[in-house]
Symmetry: C2
Subunit: 177 residues, 2 copies
DNA sequence: TATTGTTATACTCTATAACTATA
DNA sequence: TATAGTTATAGAGTATAACAATA
């Protein structure tokens, strides 16, 4: 992603780049492959773009060993102290059954803790530990850099429009079954 | 996706909806959960939107039992008859090692076929069978409906802009490592 | 009877290593 | 020696069923 060093964003000089891999040395055409209408498919474009952004996210967060879903969970707990597990799951579209191991891992690292609710002893409410709160400062900083790198590809305005469109799709899906 | 029936998109009447699940009958607040800056995160929005669109894709193509990646492979082969496996993989970002089973499945269904290349007998070139070509007409029809449903959420212009932005991100990622 | 959290489990995707046959 | 395709395998991510404790 993003100009990590000299990366020229220009598509123009692809001719030079052909020789990166010495493949083209003989007969093979480097074959400008035609994706057909694929590149105009929303689903396909979404998938490729999402993978690209996640790749940058993973690299950015590799030092702190945090995955996108974990960052989502930590953020929601931070913003809404005391939520039930089921509520966090619903908010993020995670299944309770898959949420357990995820939480266990965060708890083992001392970032979050569960507490039996007094009003409904079936449920457990979630909190960041002190350590978790401090950790979140690092995460937010890392995330800011990551976001800025992605944003630099589009510019502020286009980025805002993009997120708006995406949220429109997401909102529509929620009214779905 | 998309207005499949009456779903009122309004957030307003959540008061009524509380009683859907008799939960709120006592003290619990239905809790408008704060996603924090999550909803403004490109990666998060991309992920949720991609899942939503794929869900619609899967439902649309369930009758013909075709997954997004399979549709991509078939489309590329149709547009570029005679490509090597490795070329299709590179174009779509699939690993050769994972491509084998995928191709086997398409071949078992009689949609594609492999042919040893005369010029380089290590490689195999890919073609649609006659059956595969006919099948593609169905797929394109199904895909058109699917795309129109997604597009209807945004309008033509916004959709075009969205895809453009996504492709900009994708292109930048390619210049990456 | 229904719900919260849990375990066990299975299936899909994706990733790595090692092999074969060709080049 | 390197490359195209292949196998085996391991790891995420995600899905369903069934259970205990509590409502």
């Amino acid at each position: 992603m993003a100009n990590r060093d000299n990366r020229n964003a220009n598509v123009k000089m692809k001719k030079r780049k052909q020789n990166r891999r010495k493949s083209s040395r003989r007969n093979e055409i480097p074959a400008k492959i035609d994706l057909g209408h694929l590149s105009d498919l929303i689903g396909y474009a979404l998938r490729r773009a999402q993978l690209a952004v996640f790749r940058d996210f993973l690299k950015s967060f590799s030092a702190v060993d945090i995955r996108p879903t974990q960052y989502g969970v930590l953020t929601v707990i931070e913003q809404n102290s005391g939520l039930m597990q089921s509520q966090v799951c619903a908010a993020l579209g995670i299944r309770q059954t898959n949420f357990v191991a995820l939480l266990n891992a965060l708890e083992r690292r001392g970032l979050t803790r569960r507490q039996r609710s007094a009003s409904d002893r079936r449920s457990r409410t979630l909190y960041l530990t002190r350590k978790g709160e401090i950790f979140m400062r690092d995460l937010r900083r890392i995330n800011r850099v990551h976001e800025e790198r992605v944003t630099s590809l589009l510019g502020e305005q286009e980025r805002r429009r993009l997120v708006q469109s995406l949220n429109r799709i997401i909102a529509a899906a929620k009214n779905d079954s």
